[in-house]
Amino acid sequence: MEPMHTEDQNGARLDSLLAAYRDACPDPESASVDFMPNLWRKIEAKRIDTTFVFRRLAQFCMAATAALLLLTSLITPRASDDEMLYSSTYADVLAADHADAAYVESLPADLPEVNR
């Protein structure tokens, strides 16, 4: 029972110490005269900071967009260079590629006509 008793006593002493601390730190009667002006100064400074951050962010986004646009225009094949590719059908391109293969000549002359 002794340790429990001591613990209770210590708890009570701690409580009274904290109560004394409460009395030793009363609410301040008044703040300094600069309290409100300084507060508004800080509010304004933060507003300016926030605006600055957003402005920088917008500038960064614009620069990134411009760079991306430039990069895209550089890597995309120009239409004039590949006019054939975009204006012809797949069959036309194949025919052009194999123009010198002369498949027809290599076929036997007595090939049976399958459609008949």
Partner: protein, 194 residues
């Protein structure tokens, strides 16, 4: 509530005059709480301004004026916590940076004739601050809000958004740690007079 809901609504809608009135109404209470939480009178106004600065920019997020007070306390707790964390980091450098002139000044102040009551208060403050230095900043603030500020568990629940049982466990552990430091310092046996 120290102010009408309508005043908070006006402040929330950007009325600077209403915001000023809200600050004036709560300034004394908030500065008092901060003074007890951080234990450094010189920095109380700075931390207080930080609380009201956060209030200004967060006011539009306040859903209903009914929860204004716990919400303001939450901002206070967070600002005090941030301050204590920063102080902890600076503590060592401050000790090593203490100039000779500052030491002479401190000696002069200590040696001057000060009111006996004020001396006792200073001792109490230093003692409590040294005990609270033995626990984490989170536990320190929670314990102070309960034991010194006298907030109920219900109010703490609103501030911390943690259920009552979890708060009880944290408070019990924090108190046990402080008691341990209390005993280790020999205060429990009544050695130092406070």
């Amino acid at each position: 509530m120290l102010v009408e809901f309508e005043l908070i609504e006006r402040a929330r809608n950007g009325d600077a005059g209403a915001f000023n009135q809200v600050v004036q109404a709560y300034r004394k209470r908030i500065l008092g709480t901060i003074a007890r939480l951080i234990g450094r009178p010189d920095d109380v106004e700075d931390v207080g301004q930080e609380v009201f600065l956060r209030l200004y920019y967060a006011l539009e997020q306040l859903r209903t004026p009914e929860v204004f007070e716990p919400w303001l306390y939450r901002l206070t707790v967070n600002a005090a916590y941030d301050y204590l964390r920063k102080q902890k980091r600076r503590k060592e450098s401050r000790m090593s940076d203490l100039s000779e002139q500052a030491v002479v000044m401190a000696d002069a102040v200590a040696g001057s004739k000060v009111d006996a009551e004020e001396t006792r208060r200073t001792k109490v403050r230093e003692l409590v601050q040294s005990l609270l230095g033995k626990i984490s900043e989170e536990d320190r603030i929670l314990l102070m809000m309960k034991e010194v500020e006298g907030l109920s568990l219900k109010e703490l629940e609103q501030i911390y958004k943690v259920n009552e049982n979890a708060l009880k466990v944290r408070l019990f552990r924090a108190r046990q740690r402080v008691l341990k430091a209390f005993e280790a310092n020999g205060i429990a046996d009544g050695k130092p007079e406070v």
